[in-house]
């Protein structure tokens, strides 16, 4: 279990997260949606302990950070590190040694090449592979489907469902609603740092419709397309 209680985050006077209260249970996939700047990434960083905050974050396995696989939206890679070394670095950091990396290269990545030469999608697949091989209890996946090809997105969806089956906690953010409705059990909607609502699977369709109406509004008419 991961429980967030009254989490607030400010940068000077700018409050970017306001009183967030969420609970994530084992064997469930939770989605976080919101526009750019809604506070999703900041929330993830706070839960991971990469950002300071007020409020509380509890977890059933302590310390949370040592059991968390964190996929950042835009993973950073050192200029002369190969794919295999990147995976090894992340596994070594969690004291996971002697892993057969080649056998577990499910996305068929060129692991002996420098990661910096990879395409955006390949970089994301490499980062996902690494956090999977760390054998974490919790996963925070910030935009895992972004820039990844359709085939790999199918594999990624199956991986998330497998992690769910293994009783892990998975928190995902995505701008592609269908990827969330395929995998999530609940979705939390954030807007300008506020937790607007939490929706269960049966109400995803309504949420999607609501989001569409709010997001589109009369913007298309304003364009006066001819």
């Amino acid at each position: 279990m991961i429980k967030i209680k009254g989490l607030c985050k400010s940068y000077n006077s700018n409050e970017v997260l306001k009183e967030i209260n969420m609970e994530f249970s084992r064997g469930k996939v939770s989605g976080i949606v919101g526009e750019n700047g809604a506070g999703k990434t900041t929330l993830f960083k706070c839960v991971a302990g990469l950002e300071s905050y007020t409020g509380e974050v509890f977890s059933d396995v302590q310390p949370l950070k040592n059991h968390l696989g964190l996929l950042l939206t835009d993973p950073f890679f050192f200029s002369k590190i190969t794919g295999k070394e990147y995976i090894r670095l992340l596994c070594n950091a969690r004291n996971k040694k002697n892993i057969n990396i080649d056998q577990k290269n499910i996305f068929d990545l060129p692991l002996n090449q420098y990661a910096s030469t990879y395409s955006t999608g390949m970089k994301k697949k490499l980062a996902i592979t690494a956090i999977l091989l760390q054998e974490n209890e919790y996963f925070i996946l910030d935009e895992p489907f972004n820039g990844v090809d359709i085939q790999s997105n199918i594999v990624l969806t199956e991986i998330i469902l497998k992690l769910k089956e293994l009783d892990k906690i998975i928190i995902v953010s995505s701008h592609i609603f269908s990827t969330l409705s395929d995998t999530c059990d609940e979705i939390h909607l954030l807007r300008k740092g506020e937790q607007i609502k939490s929706v269960q699977k049966e109400d995803f369709k309504t949420l999607e419709q609501e989001m569409k109406e709010i997001t589109i509004g009369n913007r298309i008419e304003k364009l006066e397309l001819k």
């Binding site: 964190l70 200029s79 950091a93």
Partner: protein, 308 residues
């Protein structure tokens, strides 16, 4: 084009300020250091003129990097791009050409000036995508990535040791050891992204211990060929050889800890002064290491969620 150079000036000033320096003062300091260092190398070696030309070219080659020139081309077009590149190279070559002229090396100055303009009209790929094998692959990242960036230093250092033994110049042998030491120190000069510290399932203390042990092990591995050579041919000076090895290790610890004492920011200039001061008074290292260690513990506490 004027806007481009204004922007470059603003960016440079910003970088200098971020390093905790006054732009005007650092410009003056840089000039003094440049003149002093040039005088020093002209005084020390007859190859100084080549070194001046080489250093100037190395800066200019960096500016001629493929992606950079492609970017300039896409923004300014062919003609303006060439003008910008020629101007950039001329700005860079001014101090170097001045030094050569000051030393009455007119031919070399003309060659450097002409080449600077010519180089500006070409672009180069400055980085190889070829994966260079490294002995540090099992335990990335500082030494594995650093080794690849500086791989040419090692055959050079080992060759210097061989020459030192052949011409019976012990000091040159020690210099080759210092060369390895300086190279490995550079691997720890910049802080990594916070994520790469956060990933460790460690306490602050065990993290620092791991980093220090790894650095020491890898440094010794790279120094061993020189060490063995010198110990075999200069057994009588074994105490001096081991003293330099020990100092190299302690200096490496200092840099590792200095990096994390400022984390996630870059090593501040004041820390740079402390490190430079150690070179003048080496015993100081025994005070500086615990100081940086305590500072590192405090800096990393948050990221490791350490309560004590």
């Amino acid at each position: 084009m004027k806007d481009y150079f204004n922007l470059q000036l603003v960016m440079t000033k910003r970088k200098v300020k971020e390093a905790g320096l006054n732009p005007l003062l650092s410009c003056l300091l840089g000039l003094i250091l440049f003149v002093a260092f040039s005088e020093y190398i002209f005084h020390r070696t007859e190859f100084a003129k080549y070194l001046v030309i080489l250093v100037c070219f190395s800066f200019q080659f960096k500016l001629s990097e493929n992606r950079r020139t492609d970017f300039l081309l896409s923004i300014f077009g062919d003609k303006a791009k060439n003008k910008i590149r020629v101007l950039e190279n001329l700005i860079i070559c001014i101090p170097f050409v001045s030094i050569l002229l000051f030393k009455n090396l007119f031919l070399e100055a003309v060659i450097l000036f002409t080449c600077s303009i010519t180089i500006a009209l070409f672009s180069f790929r400055t980085s190889l995508n070829l994966t260079i094998p490294t002995p540090f692959s099992k335990n990335p990242f500082e030494f594995s990535t650093g080794f690849r960036k500086t791989f040419f230093i090692f055959p050079l250092a080992y060759a210097l040791t061989t020459i030192a033994i052949n011409v019976d110049n012990f000091n040159l042998g020690i210099f080759s050891m210092l060369l390895i030491s300086l190279t490995t120190l550079s691997y720890y000069s910049k802080p990594e992204e916070e994520y790469y510290v956060w990933i460790y399932a460690d306490t602050t203390k065990s993290f620092l211990k791991k980093k220090i042990i790894n650095a020491t092990k890898n440094y010794i591995m790279l120094t061993i060929p020189i060490l063995i050579g010198l110990l075999i041919f200069y057994p009588i000076k074994f105490d001096l050889i081991l003293l330099f090895l020990l100092f190299g290790i302690l200096f490496l610890w200092t840099i590792v800890l200095a990096k994390y004492s400022a984390f996630p920011d870059e090593i501040h200039l004041s820390v740079g002064f402390i490190i430079a001061f150690i070179l003048l008074f080496p015993p100081l290292i025994l005070v500086v290491i615990p100081y940086f260690y305590t500072k590192s513990i405090n800096k990393l506490k948050f990221i490791f969620n350490d309560k004590n």
